[in-house]
Symmetry: C2
Subunit: 406 residues, 2 copies
């Protein structure tokens, strides 16, 4: 089964919002063994919608649509599907009753506009949306499937997980896609590509290589009949990649620097506190988002500039001797965070300085660690062009702490 | 001139990264008076690329491509353009010299793979990329333009701003698009749509309505010959929208809650400190990202749970009497942040509790303010389904403080 995603909405073409829905659906399809071939965005313009949906219905086994199911006059997904399939829309009484009941539960009468959310065509059935007013459409005819889902990401994700994915799994039992991802830090994309060139010739599993803030990722994708068959195809790649990447390999699949750090801290029974004067809260929010963080994270401090450090217990004499942008201050920040917040381990990030000037100066920053009183630091240097600066810095800080914890 | 964006890369279809490039380009095109009609994503599969690029070249005045310009064997954008236009690729000596010099400056020999980054076709000229190894292609033939730009967002944005946008502005002097956005909080999308229904009939300017974490936005888009003509068309809408939305209107165009707060604090000569135990650093990072924040932001504290509050000066007796999730604690947090960090104003966010249960419980949280010792708070309640919870909470906190500052 091969699929196509159509994201609908003029706001997508105005650059006002990023279309995260199609990325979400794209990441879900491999789990069902469905190959995604095409993704399009289209405005609310009815002619353009009809052109895109007509082509999708013609060439793809499965068309997944998001957006355009709202009550306003520019929500035209239902009308366009009806037109492309040459079917008539009608008001479904059950849906209308349900919709009116939903508005009654908010204590407001249903606006006249919303009646279109209670329509269907003969080839469509309803897909429940318990957390919004827009039900989805499941359209099936001539051996093809089209599914229209609402645009708000939370409604879409829930409808996908509870309704659409289970039905598709039922339909597509014969093919499975198995993937494995290896995550490295410290080797360039081109370098890794050359070192592993023979692997990239293979068609099944196929290999991909991607630059990310936390390093270079390799991904193998096997299209097979069973999960075991896929694992067997990927196993020799795993051996080869581990051989070649060595110490640069820090994780696989869903592992992140913060999830690995979370496991290590939990295993050691250690708690952590953070202080940052460079990454504006990204260190704290990354740690807070890690699994079980409420168990081991004692808190984070976002300090700004020289005067922002001493109120949090960074000694005045360290600041005076070395300045806020120094390795010594990084260590003092890690210690202050650890002591202030009663943690076993402190981590800090502070900018050091820029070398060079002009278009692409070298950025430097220092990362401080304090593990039960044992202080250390590392320094990062990179041309600023290599940066998604904050994300990369936080990833390196967490991988650095992981190494400190052994 | 109407345009099409084609984002290239198998990783986009695997859902591994969100395609922010097409959203960026989409937001830039209106400033040049260029109408974006189509957006597609396509994998590295050469047949699929040729199909998409062939259609784009056929139907669009301007095709903007991103990605597939790297050195690896699955970077096929150049090859596909050559195929679609029926032209031969050749190695350009100047480009090759430049590329070798770039690698020399990194202190490494140029990998053999990279030679393809020095190729052109007769209809293509080079677009400079001083911060990466992949130069762009500017292709012009038969009155049509196609531009191939690199995938890494920082390289793309720079190439766009310095090279591509200026050339396109030159070509498209006759049409201008003028937009205005109004930002409201506290009226529903459907409600605003009904209140302003007559405005949505107009074709030029056309109106759009969008739900965002900071409320409902209205956008007018006028396609005209001069900027003044556009402003004149939009002026009557401005009067009508201000009339109808009243107090719910909090900003226009690029204004954000944090930019408005930044202006207010700067105008009052006030400094700010923040403490959050609900939003995991988003309050701090939003404030740190506001214009001139180093002038007025004294720092942020990310506290976790009950034990995370007292180390930052939230009094034990307040925590004992009211618990960490209370309006009293919110006020005490704002005061502690203000006092600890020597600021004029403190702001805080703390969760209160969940009402109800099951699928869609009501979330509550308290926001505390302390303006030079004058404490106050506000409480938020909302069904969790309405949430991009953290973003919405931070936006409301900042708009709430703005009101406190008068």
């Amino acid at each position: 089964m091969h699929a196509e995603i159509v994201s609908i909405g003029t706001e997508l073409l105005m650059g006002e919002i990023v279309d995260t829905n199609s990325a979400f659906l794209a990441s879900e399809l491999p789990k069902l063994g469905i190959e995604l071939r095409w993704v399009s965005k289209v405005s609310d313009n009815p002619d353009h919608m009809a052109e895109v949906l007509g082509r999708a219905w013609g060439r793809s086994d499965l068309t997944l649509m998001t957006g355009g199911l709202g009550p306003t006059s520019d929500d035209l997904t239902r009308e366009t599907i009806a037109q492309v399939l040459g079917e008539e829309m009608y008001v479904n009484d059950d849906l209308l009753r349900y919709l009116k009941a939903q508005f009654a539960s908010y204590g407001i009468p249903m606006p006249e506009n919303n009646i279109k959310q209670a329509t269907l065509i003969p080839s469509a059935s309803t897909v429940a949306n318990p957390i919004g007013t827009a039900p989805g459409w499941w359209v099936e005819r001539d051996g093809k499937i089209a599914v229209a889902m609402p645009g708000p990401p939370r409604e879409l994700k829930r409808m996908w997980a509870n309704e659409v994915a289970p039905r598709l799994r039922e339909k597509n039992r014969s093919i499975v896609m198995v993937t494995k991802t290896w995550k490295t830090f410290g080797i360039s994309e081109g370098g890794l590509n050359e070192m592993l060139a023979p692997l990239f010739v293979s068609k099944n599993p196929s290999m991909g290589i991607y630059a990310r803030p936390d390093g270079i990722h390799l991904r193998a994708l096997a299209t097979v009949r069973t999960r075991d068959e896929g694992l067997a195809l990927i196993e020799p790649l795993d051996v080869e990649i581990r051989n070649v990447t060595g110490q640069a390999l820090w994780g696989v699949d869903d592992e992140t620097p913060e999830s690995l750090l979370a496991s290590k801290l939990a295993a050691n029974g250690m708690s952590l506190a953070a202080m940052e004067s460079h990454t504006n809260g990204l260190l704290a929010s990354t740690l807070a988002g890690a699994p079980g963080s409420s168990e081991w994270l004692r808190g984070g401090i976002v300090a700004l500039g020289r005067s922002g450090l001493s109120p949090h217990g960074v000694p005045e004499n360290v600041l005076r001797s070395h300045g806020p942008a120094s390795a010594q201050t990084a260590e003092a920040m890690a210690r202050a965070a650890r002591e202030r917040l009663h943690a076993d381990v402190g981590i800090s990030i502070t900018p050091v300085a820029s070398d060079g000037e002009g278009d692409d100066p070298v950025q430097r920053c220092a990362i401080g660690f304090d593990v039960r009183g044992r202080a250390s630091h590392m320094e990062l240097r990179y041309p600023s062009r290599l940066m998604m600066l904050r994300e990369r810095t936080v990833a390196q800080a967490l991988l650095g702490l992981l190494k400190q914890l052994g």
